[in-house]
């Protein structure tokens, strides 16, 4: 949907300083652009739960981090996400790969649970389904930042 260069420019334009990530096959091709963008630092984690706490430390230290993971990693993140967003009340924003969203009638359970889980956590999200949706991503990020509240952008993906 987006090229790496396009995403890196978008994030740096939003003031993001660090992308804390564990990529999937759709986000992965952005790696080179995220690495070479001078305004961004790419931080690799070993499991997605780490990303929220690491980003929390960056936030506390005065930076503007963004978590970038697949939706399966959102499921893995439960306790870390709970603690960071609700105990520490740190308003992180996440870009999350929405696996199988573009596959009509997909039986993929990773697709089935994403939105119900975000709703349960009370995380305001937008589905970014087409290239033309980029302004929605930008607007949502800025609204969350202005409101000091967590948020997410779900990047629509095809098959796993």
């Amino acid at each position: 949907m987006f090229s790496g260069e396009e995403m890196a420019a978008t994030l740096s334009g939003l003031g993001v300083t660090h992308v804390v990530w564990l990529p999937d096959s759709e986000l992965g091709p952005w790696e080179s652009a995220l690495m070479t963008c001078p305004e961004l630092s790419l931080v690799r984690v070993c499991r997605e739960g780490e990303a929220w706490a690491l980003a929390a430390g960056l936030h506390l230290g005065g930076k503007r981090p963004l978590v970038m993971i697949q939706c399966t990693g959102l499921f893995e993140s439960g306790d870390a996400l709970r603690n960071v967003l609700f105990d520490l009340r740190i308003p992180l924003f996440a870009v999350i790969g929405y696996r199988s969203y573009l596959v009509e009638n997909s039986p993929d359970t990773a697709r089935r649970f994403v939105e119900p889980i975000l709703k349960t956590w009370g995380i305001d999200y937008r589905v970014i389904a087409r290239k033309e949706d980029k302004p929605r991503l930008i607007d949502h990020f800025q609204a969350c930042a202005a409101g000091q509240r967590p948020g997410a952008a779900l990047i629509a993906e095809g098959r796993m």
Binding site: S41, C46, R47, E50, L54, A56, L58, H59, L60, K63
Partner: protein
């Protein structure tokens, strides 16, 4: 690069009392950020009142080293010390690799190894049943400055040299269980503590 010899990283054979072990770090500490969790978060506030102390309670178990790493990356001009429990370390062993891969050089991770899930009443960890060597795990993860101590006098003698090693540093301290006084209590509302901590972080480093 600091060269590690195998004998310097092996599992500490003994255990030292927790509070004197923490006092060693308190006495060396200048203006480092100190992150505590679990047993350390119970004892450290009795030893230190510093604006750059952050007691990670309530926590997500296993995540303290990641918060410390984020702080280290955000503020490369400051040193960050993180006290972690052995049970917490087991819950997030990948954090060792994340730390090694990050390139952060201003982080010291100290694992207080008593072999127990202390705050739940003292049940043994899986690692305690099979002699898991945390120091060797750290070396294998790519952290080169690694030390292990099981004797309080040796820790007192070696702490300053250890804290001066090239970062990131990983230290295992074999410590005794505290016994009946194991329960955790947050030292005040999180919002207030966060505000104090962030205010201190925003001040220039000395």
């Amino acid at each position: 690069m600091h060269v590690i010899k195998a004998h310097s990283t092996s599992q500490p054979p003994g255990r030292m009392p927790l509070v004197p072990a923490l006092e060693v770090v308190r006495d060396l500490r200048r203006d480092e950020i100190v992150i505590t969790t679990m047993g350390a978060a119970r004892e450290w506030p009795k030893l230190s009142r510093h604006a750059l102390d952050f007691h990670y309670i309530p926590s997500a178990m296993g995540q303290a080293p990641l918060i410390a790493l984020g702080l280290a990356l955000a503020q490369p001009g400051r040193e960050v010390i993180c006290f972690n429990g052995d049970g917490c370390m087991l819950m997030n062993l990948g954090a060792l690799v994340t730390i090694a891969a990050s390139g952060a050089t201003n982080l010291t991770l100290i694992v207080l190894n008593n072999g127990l899930y202390e705050v739940t009443g003292g049940q043994r960890t899986a690692a305690a049943t099979c002699s898991t060597d945390f120091a060797r795990l750290a070396v294998a993860s790519g952290i080169s400055s690694v030390r292990a101590f099981g004797d309080l006098d040796l820790w007192r003698q070696g702490a300053a040299e250890t804290m001066a090693l090239a970062g990131p540093r990983f230290v295992v301290l074999g410590v005794e269980a505290v016994g009946a006084d194991y329960r955790l209590q947050a030292p005040g509302p999180m919002a207030d503590r966060m505000q104090t901590f962030q205010r201190a972080l925003s001040e220039p480093t000395s």
